[in-house]
């Protein structure tokens, strides 16, 4: 009997031994954390932490904001941050010219920035990926037409195009998302086309064709998953750019309109009195910088190493 069960018993013992050794689990975590902290991965951790914090702040804004972001108390206008002289301790980062709490507006402003960033990326990503896939997979004249269109679009400054269109069609959150998305499809299309061209020559695509898999299935099940990495890199670059562009448009008065808090329009409002209330200029700008930096850090970590 002992001969028969020896193997099983041995395995069971080994399993019990592994389970009994918590140091192995610890070792695994230690190595994982160690790996994460090495070079680029440190950037991933910092970038990820920043973005997670900002997403959480945006989602739980009503619970985190110490005041109502719309509440105006003119007698509390332009109060400095709580650590300065003459401050009111209930307003941690001070107040704006209408006596609204700056911290609450910054927290709610994260919603606008992220909404525009994600929305514009979805619009640009959808248009660009579809056109890029068509150009790369179908090829021929369709490829020439799409790429010529991309060249034309790329030959024109995206932000200038946004300013011109927003000036004519009017302002608003949804318009900003659509315009920013529509003018930045090119980067996606170029990256997706390039990656599709190389992936479609792979043996597994040929094998899929040989067994009669439809073109639609090849694109959705074989090409798309294999071009996801360059797609993710371009998405991070694009998201950072969209947030900066939205802030610029709002700063120029062409983006999100008051009373919706947006970091760009907060800076625009602060311009009139930034000499006497520096905090209104510094903190919303810092919020944009930190968010974009977080996305860029993640993007850098995703890029293949040199």
């Amino acid at each position: 009997m002992s001969e028969k069960t020896n193997g099983y018993t041995g395995m069971a013992l080994a399993g019990r031994e592994v389970a009994a050794r918590p140091s192995l689990k610890l070792e695994f975590f230690r190595r994982a954390i160690g790996k994460l902290l090495v070079r680029n991965n440190l950037m991933t951790v910092i970038g990820g932490a920043i973005i997670t914090t900002i997403i959480l702040a945006a989602v739980f804004a009503p619970f985190l904001a110490p005041h109502d972001y719309k509440e105006q108390t003119l007698s509390h206008a332009l109060l400095p941050p709580s650590w300065s002289k003459g401050a009111n301790s209930t307003y941690l980062l001070g107040t704006d010219h209408l006596g609204r709490d700056l911290l609450s507006r910054i927290i709610f402003g994260a919603r606008t920035s992220l909404l525009v960033g994600v929305g514009a990326v979805i619009v640009a990503g959808s248009i660009g990926t579809i056109l890029g896939l068509l150009a790369g997979f179908v090829g021929g004249k369709l490829d020439s037409v799409i790429m010529r269109l991309a060249d034309i679009q790329l030959s024109f400054s995206a932000i200038l195009l946004c300013i011109a269109i927003m000036a004519v069609i009017g302002q608003g959150l949804s318009k900003v998302v659509i315009v920013l998305g529509v003018v930045s499809w090119v980067q996606y299309a170029r990256v997706v086309r390039g990656s599709t061209l190389s992936v479609k020559e792979e043996l597994y695509i040929e094998a899929a064709r040989a067994i009669g898999v439809s073109n639609w299935r090849i694109v959705t099940h074989h090409i798309l998953p294999n071009i996801s990495r360059p797609l993710m890199v371009i998405t991070t670059v694009n998201a950072a750019r969209q947030i900066l562009n939205e802030a610029a448009l709002s700063f120029l008065g062409l983006g999100v309109q008051p009373p919706t808090p947006a970091w760009g329009s907060m800076l625009s409002e602060a311009r009139g009195f930034f000499r006497i209330a520096w905090w209104n200029t510094v903190f919303p700008g810092l919020a944009i910088l930190v968010t974009v930096l977080g996305i860029n850090l993640l993007g850098q970590a995703l890029q293949p190493r040199q």
């Binding site: 010529r148 060249d151 034309i152 030959s155 024109f156 400054s157 995206a158 932000i159 200038l160 195009l161 300013i163 011109a164 269109i165 000036a167 004519v168 069609i169 950072a240 900066l244 802030a247 610029a248 700063f251 120029l252 008065g253 062409l254 760009g264 800076l267 602060a270 311009r271 930034f274 000499r275 520096w278 200029t281 510094v282 700008g285 944009i288 910088l289 974009v292 930096l293 860029n296 850090l297 850098q300 040199q306």
Partner: protein, 305 residues
């Protein structure tokens, strides 16, 4: 060479065509173009008169050809606010914008190439991560915010530089640095990457084994080879400068074409908006064409492609 030139020129003409279509359609994006082109206080009858007068009741393609014809004659209508020809107003402001763009470009080249080479040559020291972080910070900073911070520090607290307006070289420093910051980050990163790649190549090892001085290796060998991708990025940046000037001009009250555009937008002066967009579009195309053609000299292989 000639084939490439003709091909590139054809592309530029196509882009110009697209720019004119965009500017033409801009008034239609607002809904009723006759209403958009009328002053705010115009009556319904005035609007109808203008519609007939401008031929807006004609088919779209006839309107477009007439628009191109007028634009070629420098006629894009009169600005409502200033009661002056829109095209000449926009052209008057162009030099200020070009000076600003050129100054930013010079600063970008002057800082990013030496800084990038320095960082790449000291890969194992603190220099590379430091420059990397600096690059990440500059490409993550909103241009207009940087401008406001510079005004706050250098004009308000230190009182070293004037906060706004156009005048001497002192007025140019802050707007040029603000406009160039993003490009400095981007180009420096590019220089670090390409220089690092070149440093690992065989010709550098050969040059070192010959006993050449490091300075000579960098100036005669590496610089030449790393310049092509860097010029590509710089060329793209030059175009981006023209787009970015609008925001910087607004922050520093710099009397360029971008600031004029924002004034036109605020007063819904559509003829002026159209003139500015058309001129910037044409200029953008010309710069892109010039940059592309300059590659022929830097990279002779392009001529034969």
């Amino acid at each position: 060479m000639l084939r490439y030139f003709v091909k590139r020129l054809g592309h530029a003409i196509l882009v110009l065509l697209a720019v004119t279509i965009l500017v033409f359609l801009l008034v239609y994006l607002s809904g009723d173009p006759a209403r958009a082109l009328s002053p705010i206080d115009a009556t319904e009858e005035d609007v109808e008169n203008l519609r007939h007068q401008l031929g807006l009741d004609q088919p779209l393609y006839i309107q477009y050809f007439r628009f191109v014809q007028d634009a070629l004659h420098g006629d894009l209508g009169y600005s409502y606010k200033y009661r002056m020809p829109a095209m000449s107003m926009a052209l008057q402001r162009l030099p200020a914008t070009l000076i600003l763009a050129l100054a930013s470009f010079t600063i970008t080249v002057g800082i990013s190439i030496p800084l990038g080479i320095f960082a790449a040559s000291r890969r194992d020291s603190f220099a590379e991560p430091f420059v990397n972080i600096l690059c990440l910070l500059t490409i993550s900073t909103p241009t207009f915010w940087l401008g406001l911070l510079l005004i706050l520090v250098f004009a308000e607290y230190l009182r070293w530089l004037p906060a706004s307006g156009r005048g001497g070289l002192q007025n140019l420093v802050m707007p040029a640095v603000t406009l160039g910051a993003y490009s400095i980050g981007l180009t420096t990163k590019m220089v670090v990457t390409t220089t690092s790649a070149e440093l690992g190549r065989g010709y550098v090892t050969t040059a070192r084994s010959k006993g050449l001085k490091e300075q000579v290796i960098y100036s005669r060998h590496i610089l030449k080879n790393m310049l092509i991708p860097v010029v590509t990025v710089l060329g793209l940046q030059l175009g981006a400068f023209l787009g970015g000037t609008t925001i910087v001009e607004v922050v520093f009250a710099w009397p360029g074409i971008g600031w004029l555009m924002m004034q036109a937008i605020n007063s819904r002066d559509l003829p002026l908006i159209r003139a500015v967009v058309l001129i910037m579009g044409v200029f953008f195309t010309v710069i892109n064409l010039a940059v592309d053609l300059s590659y022929c000299y830097l990279e002779p292989r392009i001529r034969y492609e």
